[in-house]
Amino acid sequence: MTDTTRFIPDRLQSPLQKRLKSWESLLLLVAIAIFVANSFASPYFLNAWNLSDATFNFTEKAMIAFAMALLIISGEIDLSVASIIALASTAMGAAVQMGAGTPVLILVGLGTGLLCGAFNGVLVTRLGLPSIVVTIGTMSLFRGISYIVLGDQAFRGYPADFAFFGQGYVFWVITFELVLFAVIAVIYGMILHMTNFGRAVYAIGNNPTGALFSGIRVARVKFILFLLTGLMSGVAAICLTSRLGSTRPSIATGWELEVVTMVVLGGVNILGGSGTIPGVVIAAFVMGLVTFGLGLLNVPGIVMSIVIGALLIGVIALPRLWKMWRAQ
C-alpha cells in the first residue's frame, strides 16, 4: 500500500555476485537441504522408484504453475485452475461415455481448458473486471458444472492407451509426466525470458499504463495469458485423469492454492512485475520433496497443507522481516 523509495546504486553488483545472492540460489540450497534431511529421516527416500513416484506430487501442478507465473507477473491471477481441471476431466469422461478414443479425449481436454481460459480472459480483458473476483466466480461455476453433470457419480472406463499420459514411463524411472514437465518448463522459460512477449509480460506487470503507451497490446497479452493458463490446466487434467483413471467432481480440490504457493515460493512477486521460470522449477521440486518426505514419515495430508500454508506466508514474510530487522 505504501510507496517504497527505490535507490539507484552507484555500482552494479557483478553478475556472479548477483546470481549467488538471488532468490533462486537460496531456494536451491533449501531444496538440497530438504533432500539431505529426507534421506536421513527415512531409509526409503533414496530409491530411484520412490523418487520417481514422488515427482507426481508436483509435475501436474507445476505445468499450471508455469502459465500462472506469467499471469501473476502480468499482475493478474487465476484461482479457477483446479475447477478447470474438474470441468476438463468431466468433459473427457463424458466423451468416453460416447465412445471417444484417446486422440479425441486429448482434444476434448485441451479444448475445454482453452474455452475456460478464454471465458476468464474475455471477462477480465473485455469487461475490465478484476481477475480475482472473476476467477473466484468461475472457480464455483466450472466445478459447479461438473457437479451438475456428475452429481455423486463418477466417470470411469478410460481406454487402456489413455493411461500412458499419467502412468507411462519414457525411459527406466523417467515418467512421461516428468518429461512433459521439463519440456513445458523450457518452453515457458524461453517465452518469458527470450521473447518480446515475455518482455511485454514484465512491462505490463510493472506499469500497465506505461506498457499501454509504449504500444504493448495490454488486453491482448493478458487474454493470451489466460488462454495459456486454461490450456495448461487442460494438460494437467489429461495427466491427472489418466493417472487416476476416473473422474469425480471433487477432483483436484484445493490445487489452486498449491499452484499459487508454488509460483510465490519460486520468487514471483504476487503483485506482479518480477519472477523467473527457473525459480518456479526449483519451487516445484521443493514442494514435491517436502510433501513426499512428510508422506514417508506418515504425516497426514491435511497436516502437510499446514506446512504448505505456512510456506506460502513464510516465504513472503521472512524477507520482509529480515529487511525490517536490517533497517533498525
Partner: protein, 327 residues
Amino acid sequence: MLQRLITSREALLLGAIAVLLALISTRFPGFVTPSNLADVFNDTSPLILLAIGQMIVILTKCIDLSVAANLALTGMVVSMLNLAFPGLPVALILVVAITLGALMGMFNGILVWKLDIPPIVVTLGTMTIFRGIIFLISDGKWVNSHEMSPAFKAFPRFELLGLPMLSWTAILAVIVFTIVMSRTTLGRAAYAVGGNPHAATYTGIEVGRTQFWAFTISGALAGLTGYLWVSRYAVAYVDIAGGFELDVVAACVIGGISIAGGIGSVGGALLGALFLGVIKNALPVINVSPFWQLAISGGAIIIAVAVNARASRTKGRIILKSAEHAA
C-alpha cells in the same frame, strides 16, 4: 432523493429478491408464508454475519478467504471445550468464540498491516493453516450431538418473540454494524481507506491499522458464527463450512460491494446474503438438484460483478481504462 433511493443498488436487489419470491410463489405459495420466510432468514443468518465482516474487509481493499476456516476452528474449539467442561455457561462460550475468532482475524491483520503481505496470500495461507489445526486438535474425530450439553445446543434455537436467537444475532449484527459503519470514526476510516488510500493517509488515517481492525471484526464475527454453526447443526468436524468463504464473497459482490474497495453498505451485504439464501432454499422446493447450487452461486458472482462494473463505469472517472479496451 426519492429517485436516488429507487435506483440505489439496495433497492434494485430488494426488487430482484421480490421478483424471485413472486416467481417461486406462483408455483409454490407455501414458500412465501411468513413462517417459511422466517426459516429462510434463520438459515441465511450465518451467511449474513460473515458477509457483514467480509464487507468491511473488502471496503478497505482487502479480502478475507479464511473466514470459513476460522468459523470451523472456533466451532471445534468451543465444542471440545463443551465436551471437557459441560457446565460452562453459554455466555462464557460466546466470549471464548468471539475472542478466538478475533485473535485469528488479528493474525491476518498483523501480517497485512506490519509486513505488508497481500491479503489474498495471507488469507489463502491461514485458510489452510486453520483447517489443518482443526485436524491436529481433534485428531480428525467428530464432536457429535450427544456429546454436547443441552444448554450448548439450545442457545441458537431459543425463541424470542417468535424468532430464534440465531436470527436475532444476525439482526443485532446488522443494526450494530450499520451504526458502526455510518456513525463511528472506524467506519468512516474504512470507507476513506478503500476510496482513496493516499488521501486517507494525508488526513491522518493509518491505512494498515484500519485494515487490521477490519480483519479483527471479520474474525470476531466468524468466531461467533462458529459457535452458532456447531450448536445449530449439533456437530463439529474438520470440514464444516468447507468452501463457505466463496458464498460469503459472492454475497458481498452481489450486494454491490466493490472489490476495489470504498463502495458498499451493510444493507447491501444483508441483501446479497438473502438473495443467495432464497435461491439455496428454493432449489429443493422447485425440484432442482442441490448439485446446481455451486454453479448458480458462481454464475451469480460473475453476473453481479459485471453489472456492478457497468453501473460504476458511467461515472467516467477512469479515463485510461477505455483506451486500454480499445487496444
